[in-house]
Each structure stands twice: as structure tokens, then as C-alpha cells.
């Protein structure tokens, strides 16, 4: 406990109040934190849109190669972060046909917001899918079967039964995904040093001006992360009370 808390508390209390206020007035800081929050949010949104059907399929079906698919989904968790960045660049770069294709579409990955979102989605997706998958798994398939036998189509069954029972786990998944995304540094710094997200800015201030100047930004970022996790805890606690 102390091992986790002590460094955090030390860092949180190190910068003075005025310094914190100064920092949040700094347009660059605000911009980078805002960028962090909304790219992470976008990543979570993408995970929600594409991850939900995948999570549902994985939770409901047994098929050959399912274990393999699950391992592939978990890959971004175990790959070192800079490697993720490099891997993404090697597909999205000019030397690859995919990179060329999206380049022609007018989307730039290297050093762009789009690039950041791609990276954050890549690292955050497994957290969303795994959370929502277990959410779906906890809903008895019999409820869906009964619903079908009572005349509901597959579509109606999802929206009347499955979704109302699973939305909480989706929300938790979104928070998990966003929390993971907002803390990403290694992969982002490779793909997009600029525009600067908060972790990159913290690193830059540390490199250029030292510990004292990076701390206030870090405090603000941690504050945001903690808020995210607090929401997560409240949601999961609430969930447990219900079941």
C-alpha cells in the first residue's frame, strides 16, 4: 500500500497551490490535457462501437480458434509500448499499401490527432472487449432464448434484454479503456510527439526543465485519471450490490 501511495502522495503535495494554478492557466498544458482526454474518449468510443459486437460474439459462441482470437485481442497488453508505436507506423507509413491508401484519403497518422487515436484505441481495446465480454457472459443465454420464443426478433431481444442488462459493463469497459488510453506514453511518443498529449508534455518538461516543472502537469493528469477510476469503482460497486 505504502509502496503505491507514498510516491503518489509525495508528488501530489510537492507543487504549491500557486504553481498548480499557474500551470492550469498555461494554454499549452490545458491543450495537452484536453487532447489527452478527448483522444482517450474517442478511443473508448471506437472500442464501444467495434468492440461490443466482437465481445458479444466471443461471449456467446464457441468456435474453432476462439482461444486464438482471444489471445490476439490480449496482445496489445503484453507488447512493450514503443513497439506498439513502431508496429503501427510500419503499417501506416508511406512504405505500406495501407499507409498509402489512408494517405490518399487525406488522413495522416504520423504526428496527428488521428494517429494518437489509432494508438490509444490499439492499447485500450483489449480492456474494453474483455470487460464487456464477461459482462455478456454473466447474462444467461436462456433469457435471450425465452425472449425469442416470446416473439422478439434477434434485434429486439438485444435492445430489450441484452443491452439493458449489459450497459453497465459497457460503461465500465469504456472507463477502463479510456483510463488505459489516457496513460499511454511509449506508443504515442513514437507515432505523434506533436500534437502533444499530457504524458508527452510531462516527459518534455521533465527533460527540458526538470522535476519541479513536470510535477504540476503530472498532478493535473493524475487528478483526471483518479476521477476516471473513481467513476469506475462506483459503477462496479453499484453493480455488485444489485446482483
Amino acid at each position: 500500500m505504502a509502496f503505491i501511495l507514498l510516491p503518489l502522495i509525495e508528488m501530489m503535495t510537492a507543487p504549491s497551490f500557486t504553481m498548480l494554478r499557474e500551470t492550469i492557466k498555461d494554454k499549452d498544458v490545458v491543450r495537452s490535457i484536453w487532447l489527452s482526454v478527448y483522444t482517450a474518449g474517442l478511443a473508448a468510443l471506437i472500442a464501444f462501437v467495434f468492440g461490443t459486437p466482437l465481445a458479444y460474439v466471443l461471449a456467446r459462441n464457441d468456435f474453432r480458434g476462439k482461444k486464438l482470437v482471444e489471445s490476439i485481442i490480449d496482445l496489445p497488453i503484453v507488447i512493450p509500448h514503443p513497439v506498439v508505436g513502431i508496429a503501427i507506423l510500419s503499417v501506416a507509413g508511406k512504405n505500406h499499401w495501407i499507409g498509402e491508401l489512408i494517405g490518399q484519403l487525406g488522413i495522416r497518422i504520423m504526428g496527428s490527432v488521428a494517429g494518437i487515436v489509432v494508438v490509444l484505441t490499439f492499447v485500450g481495446m483489449p480492456f474494453y472487449i474483455n470487460t464487456v465480454k464477461s459482462g455478456f457472459e454473466s447474462i444467461s443465454p436462456r433469457l435471450e432464448k425465452v425472449s425469442r420464443s416470446l416473439g422478439a426478433s434477434m434485434f429486439s431481444t438485444f435492445f430489450r434484454i441484452t443491452f439493458p442488462l449489459a450497459w453497465r459493463s459497457m460503461l465500465v469497459g469504456i472507463v477502463m479503456c479510456a483510463a488505459r488510453a489516457i496513460s499511454e506514453f511509449g506508443a504515442v511518443v513514437i507515432v505523434a510527439y506533436h500534437p502533444m498529449i499530457a504524458p508527452v508534455m510531462i516527459y518534455e518538461r521533465f527533460e527540458a526543465y526538470g522535476l519541479k516543472y513536470s510535477q504540476p502537469v503530472a498532478v493535473w493528469l493524475v487528478f483526471i485519471c483518479l476521477t476516471l477510476f473513481l467513476v469506475l469503482r462506483i459503477l462496479t460497486l453499484h453493480d455488485r450490490e444489485k446482483t
Binding site: 444467461s140 432464448k145 425472449s147 425469442r148 420464443s149 422478439a152 429486439s156
Partner: protein
């Protein structure tokens, strides 16, 4: 009402193989069999909830083999009742109405009748979470019947209830069935339930139907060793038939009738075997002296094992009779049974 031909299903854990079954309109049909026999899969196949590999299912005149479950008019009640946890009892019961064009006044009438018949008025606005097993079961029944199904499938609907309670619900089921023109198909493990409710029944084993008939028929005249064993025919012996006699081990048993010569089985229900200290001078054609080798307590009665020659008969005896006859393990005793109590196949 239901006509199943050569139905074959392959799932990961269960398989159904060449199922053939005919169930009449408004019949109360019972499915029995050991765990894992595929009873639930067969119900789900009729409801359209599992993929069919080959064969056909007809409901009425219509081939429904590939029809989506929501278009079949088949309701299912699971053992765990599967009520929608986020909906109130009222919303659960009326769930199916969202998808059926049923006249409002008619559906209101059905709703009121079901609520009245199943005594659900006092819980309509509650969530399923805090309901008792019996209440959940009644809500599930009401929900299933609300949409006027042609067929109601019941998967061990009484097994999760207290024994005292089951009788009441069993009577309720009978009443529901009589008051409707719905075809009931129910899975159960309970013989008393099967005997009191069913018009006809089928016994399943390993994904196939091994015997179909009235429950009494199956009970008294099983046509395989599996069914004989399943319905509790504890005295099951392989035998050679000669004329009206059956030879099993060193014993010669008088059958009273003449089965086909050759090899077969004889089966006698344990409750049809009478135990005594002296040879009985009665109409019983078969009476053998033996040794009481085992007495085991089965709660309301005892089960006694009597070895005669190299075979062992099993007989049921009440506690009172056991005491009166002063029987204990090792005593010499006679087993007697009527030839009409013997079933051969």
C-alpha cells in the same frame, strides 16, 4: 400437433440422433430420461433455439425446421424460470405482447385470467429478484401463456420447488392444461409427476428416444433393459424361454403365458414381490426359498435383497412388516410373486 422426423442435432455437449416423435393437439406429453440424455436440447429444437443438422420438425401442418423461434408460437419455461431481472412481474408477463398483434381487450382478459388463476396479483409491480421459487415459476408460466402459444415447453418446471409445494403447482398445471387448448410438453425426473400429469410419455437415453407410450405402459411394460432399470424394475434377469416357463440361473419361473422361445429378459417390480417366513400356500405360482442378504433403509420402507440360488431378488417391505416377520440379514425367507407381475421382453 408436433411431428418430428429423423431429427439429428450435433452440439458440443449433446447430440440428438434420429428422433421420431408425434404429439397430438392439447396432449400433455412427458419426456423423461437420465441427465445428459438430450431432453432440454429436444425442447430447444422444437422452439427453434438450436441448429438442426438433419431431419424435420412440423408444427401443425407447417414445416418449421428452419423457421426463426419468434415465428413458431412455441413458449418455453426453463427450470431456472429465466425471468427478465430488469423488468417487473407485470412487464415480464406482458413482454410477448410487444411482438404480437393481440386485441387489447382480449389480451387484458387473458392477463386478468392468468393473474387470477396463478395468484399473481400481489406481486405484479415487484422485480423478480426477491420472489420465491414458486412465485417465479408462476410468473414464468403466465409469461409463456400470455401470447396464446400453440405449444408450451416445460423444462423441469417443478424440480426447484419445495416438495410440499410441488403438489399444489402440479394440480395447478393440470388445471391450466385442461382449461386451454395448448399442447404441453414437459421434461421431468419425477415419476409421480409423470404419472399424474401425462397423457403419454417418452423415455430418452443418449440422444435417442428409447420408448414411447402411456406412462403406465412404460412403467409396467418396458421394452428394453435400460427403460426397465430407469423405471425402477429392480428385478431384471436375463432368461431363456421354453413354453410358458423362463429359466434364469438355476430357477424355473412360471410365466402363465407363452412368450416367443429363445433368449430374453424378465422384469418384476420390487413392490410385486412378497416376502414371507413360510412358503405361501396361495395362488402365487412362483415361490422360492432363499436367504435374506441385505436390508437397506429407504426412508418410508426397506429394500430387501434375497438371494435364491445364484440370483438376487429385490423386494420392498414396510417397516411394520419387517418387524412383524422378524426378518434380519441372514434369515431364511421365501419370495413369491404372481405370474401376471412378470414382464417379459
Amino acid at each position: 400437433m408436433i411431428r418430428i422426423r429423423d431429427l439429428t442435432i450435433h452440439l458440443k455437449e449433446f447430440n440428438l440422433l434420429d428422433i421420431n416423435l408425434d404429439i397430438g393437439t392439447n396432449e400433455f406429453f412427458i419426456l423423461m430420461g437420465p441427465t445428459g440424455a438430450g431432453k432440454t436440447v429436444l425442447l430447444e429444437a422444437i422452439a427453434g433455439l438450436v441448429p438442426v443438422k438433419s431431419g424435420a420438425i412440423h408444427i401443425g401442418e407447417k414445416n418449421v425446421t428452419r423457421l426463426a423461434p419468434e415465428k413458431r408460437g412455441v413458449s418455453i419455461v426453463y427450470q431456472d424460470y429465466s425471468l427478465f431481472p430488469h423488468l417487473t412481474v407485470r412487464e415480464n408477463i406482458t413482454y410477448g405482447l410487444h411482438f404480437h398483434r393481440i386485441d387489447k381487450s382480449r389480451s387484458d382478459e387473458t392477463f386478468d385470467r392468468l393473474v387470477e388463476d396463478l395468484n399473481l396479483g400481489y406481486i405484479l409491480n415487484r422485480l423478480p429478484l426477491n420472489l420465491s421459487g414458486g412465485e417465479l415459476q408462476r410468473v414464468a408460466m403466465a409469461r409463456a401463456l400470455m401470447i396464446d402459444p400453440k405449444i408450451l415447453l416445460l423444462d423441469e418446471p417443478l424440480s426447484a420447488l419445495d416438495p410440499g409445494f410441488r403438489e399444489e403447482i402440479r394440480a395447478g398445471l393440470k388445471k391450466l392444461h385442461r382449461g386451454s387448448n395448448v399442447t404441453f410438453l414437459m421434461v421431468t425426473h419425477d415419476f409421480a409427476e409423470a404419472l399424474s400429469l401425462s397423457d403419454r410419455a417418452a423415455i430418452m437415453n443418449n440422444g435417442t428416444i428409447v420408448q414411447t407410450g402411456t406412462m403406465e405402459d412404460i412403467f409396467k411394460r418396458p421394452d428394453s433393459t435400460f427403460v426397465a432399470d430407469f423405471v425402477g424394475m429392480k428385478n431384471l434377469f436375463s432368461a431363456e424361454f421354453h413354453g410358458t416357463k423362463a429359466r434364469t440361473g438355476t430357477l424355473e419361473i412360471e410365466l402363465g403365458v407363452k412368450p416367443a422361445d429363445g433368449h430374453g429378459y424378465i422384469a418384476i417390480r420390487p413392490e410385486d414381490i412378497v416376502l414371507s417366513r413360510e412358503a405361501l400356500t396361495s395362488s402365487m405360482r412362483n415361490s422360492f426359498a432363499g436367504n435374506l442378504t441385505e436390508i437397506s433403509d429407504c426412508g418410508l420402507y426397506y429394500e430387501a435383497g434375497i438371494s435364491v440360488g445364484n440370483i438376487t431378488f429385490t423386494s420392498l417391505i414396510t417397516k411394520g412388516a419387517l418387524f412383524e416377520l422378524q426378518l434380519s440379514e441372514g434369515t431364511r425367507a421365501f419370495v413369491s410373486f404372481k405370474s401376471t407381475a412378470i414382464h417379459t421382453f
